[in-house]
Amino acid sequence: MTTLAYTLSDSRVMLRRNLKHQLRYPSMTVMLIGLPIVLLLLFVYVFGGQLGAGLGTHDGRGAYLDYVVPGLLLITVASVVQGTSIMVAMDMTGGIIDRFRTMAIARASVLTGHVLGSLIQTLAAMVILIGVAFGLGFRSSAGPLSWLAATGILALFAFALIWLAVALGLAAKSVETASNTPMILLLLLFLSSGFVSTATMPTGLRQFAEYQPFTPVADAVRGLLSGTAVGGHAIAAIAWSIGIAVVSYLWGVRLYNRRRAAEPK
């Protein structure tokens, strides 16, 4: 086998390990996938009547459902990456990582296994969320190409945030820290166009909301799903995703390699 073949083989083994973890730790998996669904119900049935009234259509709640689905898809991403961060930190604080390091395996495979596992988990969680949304009455005028583009943008953004979560998990001194830091992503999401139009926010907050990554991603996905103009949102979303992915990847790999030199325990 060549080096590349070994890398692929090792990454596949690690991916299988991480997928098994997700099944063996169902409480966390259910929590991470269930949270966005609970929030969907909350936003539509509790806040939806009031928030939908601002959209100026006949069926406010239904219109708000259509509006908020991209926001909840992003909640799904933010929720799953919290699990990524926890799983990475659990690996790093446990004994097994030292075993991997003393074996002649592709160095990157431990991290790529986590990334691919989380990406699959995110996509599965988003499919479930979309299914529930359709059940509640969500309708989209998007054609297959638009769906594909929306999926691509979400997957790329998820990929970026997963790498960020991997880096946060590596940087965390404990599993508790690793579970808390990704909460910042949820907060950022609430300060974006995920749930309400940024036009309704006070000036300072609006400017912040318009220049952070969640807004262009939410706007691009919303545009694609509702068949309206996407324009610069998609480009901004892709640029943010690539930027976050590259920086997080470099940071993560650096942290992963530096741990070698650290004092035991």
Partner: protein, 327 residues
């Protein structure tokens, strides 16, 4: 040294410090192929750091090391391909079953589907884990986890293995099982470096012992050499009355007597000849000895002799527990 280069361990002048704290100072050791070397020392002596350096986990500040001919610093992947490491903290995956843990190792060692499955089944059998193969590790006892840990290390039949405190925290029965496994490995030609803070463990298992204290080697040799190097071997003679003790003390001026216990301690090297001479001497002087006991120096004496401090003597307690358990 030539054979150590072939399939053993050779380390010269290994130094390591964390900040100002010097953890290892010029530690050199050699382990011949198929032998067991015990790195013995109290907590904080630098044993684990030495293992972490030799197993490529952390780089040394300086020093040269070769494992089965591979340079640790320049060819870490070459080293990783021939070693197995069982650390102090169990390096097992808690969310997988025992069989899955072994299969994970087989896959990462690229054994191939069939060979991997065979090896997993073989190890489950050998380590008495076949019944628990499909149970999650949360259902495993401490001893089972340790056995699985070692089995995972052995999936690809490494030439050299490092065992960092392999029996710490185990109950006496599991400890003995572990010893047996380690002996079998060495008999099969595997080179083993183990660390321990238990003196009887080093005595039981090791061909050679290196005593480490505060990052420096303070003594080394075979268990017998270390024991012979220090005085402390003696024969204790117990008497029924003070008169016998007094007469014997006069006959044997080198001995120390204890009037209260009616005991005389006679220095002895532990050989049968010297014992026979002593008994003949007593017999000719018509001194009646109630009973006698022979004390050979143990490694605790060695450790006390070279470092000035004792090491926790858990082994004695263990053998007592073991005795009770067998009854």
């Amino acid at each position: 040294m030539a054979s150590a280069a072939a399939a053993g361990i050779a380390a010269q002048n290994v130094r390591k410090s964390f900040g100002d704290h010097v953890v290892l100072e010029n530690v050199s050791l050699a382990v011949e192929e198929g032998t067991i070397l015990a790195l013995l020392g109290p907590n904080g002596a630098g044993k684990t750091t030495m293992v972490r350096i030799l197993s490529t986990l952390i780089p040394p500040d300086s020093g040269s090391m070769r494992i089965a001919g591979h340079d640790v610093v320049n060819d870490p992947d070459g080293v990783r391909a021939v070693i197995g490491v069982t650390g102090q903290f169990s390096a097992v995956d808690n969310l997988l079953t025992g069989a899955e843990n072994l299969q994970l190792m087989a896959d990462l060692r690229h054994l191939g589907r069939e060979a991997g499955r065979r090896r997993v089944a073989e190890l489950l059998e050998q380590f008495d884990l076949a019944d628990a193969a499909d149970k999650l590790l949360s259902a495993y006892s401490g001893g089972m986890r340790r056995r699985l840990d070692l089995a995972m290390t052995l999936v690809d039949q490494p030439q050299v293995i490092f065992l960092d405190e392999p029996t710490t925290g185990l109950d006496p029965r599991s400890r003995r099982t572990m010893w047996q496994i380690i002996r079998q490995l060495a008999a099969a030609g595997v080179t083993i470096l183990l660390t321990t803070q238990y003196l009887d463990e080093a005595d039981q298992l090791a061909d050679r012992i290196v005593v480490l204290d505060q990052g420096r080697i303070v003594a080394e040799g075979t268990p017998a050499e270390l024991k012979s190097r220090i005085p402390g071997g003696h024969v204790q003679l117990h008497f029924a009355d003070p008169r016998g003790l007094r007469t014997a003390a006069e006959l044997l001026p080198a001995a120390g007597s204890d009037q209260d216990q009616l005991v005389l301690q006679v220095p002895a090297d532990g050989t049968v000849d010297s014992l026979r001479d002593l008994l003949n001497e007593l017999h000719e002087a018509r001194i009646v000895v109630e009973r006698l006991s022979i004390h050979t120096p143990d490694l605790d004496d060695v450790f006390f002799g070279v470092t000035g401090s004792h090491v926790s003597a858990q082994p004695n307690q263990d053998s007592r527990l073991q005795g009770a358990a067998n009854r």
